[in-house]
């Protein structure tokens, strides 16, 4: 076997792996859409609490949960079903998101049963979401996403010393920096990848 032939074979392997990597890259739409929707809902919850419209809190929470579920279905489940390649990384990542979303959702409802005080909801759910963001950063090999998980955990520490109303506004900031921004970075990386793919 000549040196040239070996190089050709290595080139085939590299090309195929690169093509597959681009095909399975995360678009970040899930992060951006869920992040913006959650920011709107939590901001409205904060405003409702500020004006003592407590009766609006639960409906807004339900709208946020159902809306996020629908966004997740559209941006992840339906799109993945149509994709021609399925990667282990994405399967692991989506499983982690689901595993973290369920306890975060449960936490939102615990104060209504008197299990935990209302001001701990934001703290617990933020801590849980930090785990999801950290794992996502490690899986997608993005240092920025790994570091943004510390925004979640830092936010949780700050919220632990706050009352419910200002907590909502801290959470809005945390979601923007720790969820929407990583989504924008993933999306930029995804678009750059598609552009180089098209130019080939």
């Amino acid at each position: 076997m000549k040196h040239q032939e070996v190089e050709q074979e290595i080139a085939i392997i590299k090309k195929m792996i690169e093509k597959t990597r681009k095909e399975t890259a995360e678009s970040g739409h899930f992060f951006i859409a869920i992040g913006i929707f959650s920011i709107c809902c939590i901001f409205l919850i904060g405003v409702a609490n500020f004006y003592h419209l407590i009766h609006l809190e639960l409906p807004l929470l339900l709208i946020m949960m159902i809306g996020n579920g629908l966004i997740g279905y559209i941006t992840v489940f339906r799109r993945e079903k149509k994709k021609k390649v399925h990667s282990y990384l994405k399967t692991i990542c989506y499983s982690i998101w689901a595993a973290c979303a369920v306890p975060a959702i449960i936490t939102f409802f615990l104060p209504y049963f008197g299990v935990i005080p209302g001001n701990l909801v934001g703290v617990f759910s933020t801590l849980i979401m930090g785990i999801a963001v950290f794992s996502t950063g490690v899986i997608f090999e993005s240092k920025f996403i790994v570091w943004s998980s510390f925004v979640w955990w830092g936010g949780a520490m700050v919220m632990a010393f706050m009352k419910v109303i200002p907590q909502s506004f801290v959470m809005v900031a945390v979601i923007f920096v720790g969820w929407v921004m990583p989504g924008i970075i993933l999306n930029r990386r995804y678009r750059n990848g598609s552009r180089t793919n098209e130019s080939r």
């Binding site: 076997m1 040196h3 597959t20 399967t91």
Partner: protein, 103 residues
């Protein structure tokens, strides 16, 4: 390059289209027939022949299913296929090293 190393190379993996198929499948959970066809730039019949050969060797698994009314062929690599691919890469690496040593 010694003749022994050429003989040691797995002929199933050595074919360019089959090498390309295994390179794709090694990195994913599964891939559709259409994706493999687009990536390897082969015809349906040609790809089918290579996939059958890989399946017969136990290197890949082919699952035929339906997405709605459309038939769907999903391919994934087996443990045996993973081992064969990694061994092939090691052998390529050895060849490159031995050629470098010669020069």
């Amino acid at each position: 390059m010694s003749q022994d190393k050429i003989l040691q190379l797995d002929p199933i993996v050595h074919a360019p289209v089959r090498l390309a198929i295994l390179s794709i499948l090694i990195t994913v959970e599964n891939a559709h027939f259409t994706f493999l066809k687009e990536s390897t730039k082969t015809t349906d019949g040609n790809l089918n022949t290579h996939l059958t050969k890989l399946e017969q060797s136990g290197y890949i698994r082919i699952k035929k299913t339906f997405q709605g009314k459309k038939p769907l062929t999903l391919c994934s690599i087996t443990k045996k296929g993973e081992k064969a691919f990694h061994l092939y890469l090691e052998q390529l690496d050895q060849i490159v090293r031995s050629q470098k040593n010669k020069t």
